[in-house]
């Protein structure tokens, strides 16, 4: 605001409205007052209503025993744990869905965004069908549909039993796909597992270093190494070799059919699969459109110049077009990640225990602390969304056009 200097005797009250020097200030002041009145009314109303209901406002319930069980947890949890612990389990489950969902959605989005621009008519149309189908139907319906399909099509564990079993396990009796989820082998950490894991981490570092070396070599000599196969080899071979040489400190436990379920090994709940599939297919369709827009924003001259230099179409896309298109793609991509994360609160529809189902569902229902639980939930989603936003903004600034 600039201070305006003029004789006081000239000032009349009507100037607050009719004088353009004051008008904007007046409007702003009125707006602020109205906003604060509305906020005060809301708070006052809440306090009054809570008092009328005879409820107090405190978060003490978070420390008491939860008493209910959660089917899939990333950290240890029993029904003796506190409500706060249950909320944490839910929060981690939400983050798990968000991370898995964003990863798959990005892959799907990039692939289908590029395919939709393919010169092959069938491929382009198929990609178009995918995008329009998923983009134009509410995600909740997709979640229900995929859940119902898994429930009805996949066999129950009992179908794996007996001499004339109607279903069999895949990959040499190691993986069972059932309508309760997927049972799979899981590593068991024996003596000396640290060395194996250490080797694995070293291979990851080697892959990173090799990638840099390959790029430098390409820039210096123009030769292109078959990086994908070498990286794949680095990923598996040293770790497996060490494990075998050491006599197998890391072994795998295989799921075995017991009285009711497969026991042992790892288990991925069907609700998680349905939710991640639905969310990533749905959001992937939106990302595909962002990717397509980003690619179309790059002038055709870039493609032509690249092919004039003799680059094949694949390399033109990965080396010339996509890096430039990223600048257009990233900002809307942030919104899609945020959408996916927030949409994960639909998990309760398929009984996946995310934070909305633990803190905002069972805990809220058992303790009757609606206001506290809702505020905590809103706070959680706000923090997560802001974190994703700032992370992606940071990435965006790293790919943005450097203006010097």
């Amino acid at each position: 605001m600039t201070s305006v200097d003029f004789p006081a005797e000239n000032f009349r009250l009507s100037m607050l409205i009719y004088d353009t020097r004051y008008r904007s200030l007046t409007i702003q002041a009125i707006a602020v007052i109205l906003f604060m009145l509305a906020a005060a009314w809301l708070v006052n109303n809440t306090v009054q209503n809570l008092a009328a209901l005879g409820k107090d406002f405190n978060f003490g319930f978070l420390g008491s025993r939860a008493g209910y069980d959660i089917n899939q947890t990333l950290i240890s949890y029993t029904n003796d744990s506190s409500h706060a612990r249950a909320a944490l389990v839910g929060a981690l489950n939400t983050l798990l869905v968000a991370v898995l969902g964003c990863t798959f959605a990005t892959i799907l989005g990039v692939v289908f965004g590029v395919l939709r621009l393919s010169s092959n008519w069938i491929v382009a149309r198929l990609a178009g069908v995918y995008v329009e189908m998923f983009r134009n139907v509410p995600v909740l319906l997709w979640i229900f549909t995929i859940m119902a399909v898994i429930t009805e099509i996949a066999p129950a564990p009992s179908a794996f039993r007996g001499d004339n079993a109607t279903s069999s396990m895949l990959f040499a009796d190691s993986v069972a796909i059932t309508n309760r989820g997927i049972y799979m082998p899981w590593p068991v950490w024996g003596d000396g597992w640290q060395i194996v894991v250490g080797t694995f981490i070293l291979s990851l570092i080697a892959i990173l270093l090799f990638g840099r070396y390959a790029r430098k070599r390409q820039e210096d000599t123009g030769d292109i190494l078959p990086t994908f196969w070498i990286k794949l080899g680095l990923f598996f071979i040293p770790t497996i070799l060490i494990d075998v040489l050491m006599g197998g400190p890391v072994t795998f436990e295989f799921p075995v059919l017991e009285r009711f379920n497969f026991e042992g090994g790892g288990f991925v709940d069907k609700a998680l699969i349905a939710l991640v599939l639905a969310l990533s297919l749905y959001t992937g369709a939106f990302i595909a459109e962002n990717v397509r827009a980003g690619i179309l924003a790059i002038s055709k001259g870039q493609t032509e110049a690249a092919s004039a230099l003799g680059l094949r179409p694949n390399r033109t896309m990965s080396l010339v077009i996509l890096p430039q298109a990223l600048r257009v793609i990233i900002p809307p991509l942030i919104s899609q990640y945020l959408n996916l994360t927030k949409n994960s609160s639909l998990a309760i529809a398929v009984g996946y225990m995310d934070i909305r189902a633990t803190l905002g569902g069972i805990t809220m229902n058992q303790t009757g602390r609606e206001l506290e639980c809702m505020l905590l939930l809103m706070g959680f989603y706000l923090v997560i969304s802001l974190a994703i936003s700032s992370l992606m903004n940071w990435y965006n600034s790293s790919v943005a056009l450097k203006e010097r």
């Binding site: 809570l50 209901l53 069980d69 009711f260 609606e370």
Partner: protein, 337 residues
């Protein structure tokens, strides 16, 4: 519907100070319609029939209250609620009374600030399994996957039961009865647990009810009853005594058929109940014939039970604990005097 309780939470923030007041009776009379919270669909207890008209054991209670207060048993708006949304719906005045197989517990009564007026069905939690599973007792369920309705006392009872017997299980939380049926029938869970009455009601809707058995163990006490907001005793009295009128009517042999003749009964209790003598109705803030209309709406307690969930119906439930006290059951009305 899924967001009803979020909306209701927001309503706590946003609505005017209409939250709880001691005026539900007046509000219902002014609105000319009773907003009754009910199940999203549980055969026998609360489900729309082929014509879209709600009927069932819980529904009959709502209709009796509407008949007593508004003189029209059909003047009811049924608000389907899930196990999760029901109490928020009631607390935020979205509904006037909740009749939805709700278990009377200490915390709900005391901490959640509700009043359970009666117990219209004495129930307990049980398990249903396909007979092909070869399980004959809940003690054999170690390691099983169990479908469970979320937001209910059921999940706490289940956790306690398995903990007590050092058994493990894999819970599959489900929101509504219909979804639970789908999961259970597809074999996505080995057992389905909820109140025995609910299990019987679900089984009645299956294509081959004979292929499923309800295990003998009843692992909890589930007194189910109508719920109102705490602090409005006038309205709680209306709900409580309308229900008592139905039970008393059965005890004194007043049915929807003979109610016109019973007006001439010599029994002073019946005469007070039916408003021929005394002014009990006026004390409740209603007219003299309130109980007469409530009983005429769907019959007395025994008639309602027989018509909706009793033996011979699809649910085929015995009276058991829900027989009158004179028959060795627990249904008992305090005196009308």
């Amino acid at each position: 519907m899924k967001y009803t309780h979020m909306l209701a939470g927001a309503a706590l923030l946003a609505l005017g100070a209409t939250g709880v007041s001691a005026q539900t009776l007046q509000q219902v009379k002014d609105a000319g319609v009773l907003k009754c919270g009910t199940n999203t669909g549980l055969a026998g207890f609360a489900a729309p029939n082929a014509d879209g008209v709600w009927e069932g054991f819980d529904i009959a209670i709502c209709r009796a209250i509407a008949a007593a207060v508004l003189s029209d048993p059909m003047a009811v708006d049924f608000v389907p609620t899930t196990g999760e949304t029901r109490f928020t719906a009631l607390a935020s005045s979205e509904i006037d009374v909740l009749v939805r197989n709700s278990t009377w517990t200490f915390t709900r009564d005391v901490d959640l600030k509700f009043t359970f007026t009666n117990v219209n069905y004495y129930d307990g939690q049980g398990f249903m399994v396909p007979s092909a599973l070869g399980v004959s007792s809940a003690m054999e369920l170690d390691g099983a996957t169990i479908c469970i309705q979320t937001g209910t006392t059921t999940e706490l009872n289940l956790a306690d039961f398995f903990k007590q017997h050092s058994m493990s299980y894999q819970p599959v939380p489900i929101q509504t009865n219909a979804e639970a049926d789908q999961q259970f029938l597809a074999g996505a869970c080995d057992a389905y647990t909820t109140d025995v009455s609910g299990l019987a009601a679900s089984r009645a809707t299956y294509e081959t009810p004979g292929d499923y058995i309800i295990l003998p163990e009843v692992i909890s006490k589930e007194p189910l009853g109508p719920v109102v907001r705490q602090g409005d005793d006038e309205w709680a009295d209306v709900v409580r005594w309308t229900y008592n009128a139905l039970v008393a009517a059965e005890e004194y042999g007043v049915t929807s058929e003979n109610i016109e003749e019973m007006v001439n009964s010599e029994n002073p209790e019946v005469r007070r109940l039916l408003g021929v003598e005394g002014d009990l109705g006026a004390m409740l803030g209603l007219d003299a014939e309130w109980a007469r209309r409530a009983i005429a709406a769907g019959g007395n307690y025994g008639e309602i039970f027989a018509a909706t969930i009793g033996e011979g119906t699809a649910s085929n439930l015995e009276r058991g604990l829900n027989a009158l006290w004179t028959d060795g059951g627990l249904q008992y009305s305090p005196p009308f005097r």
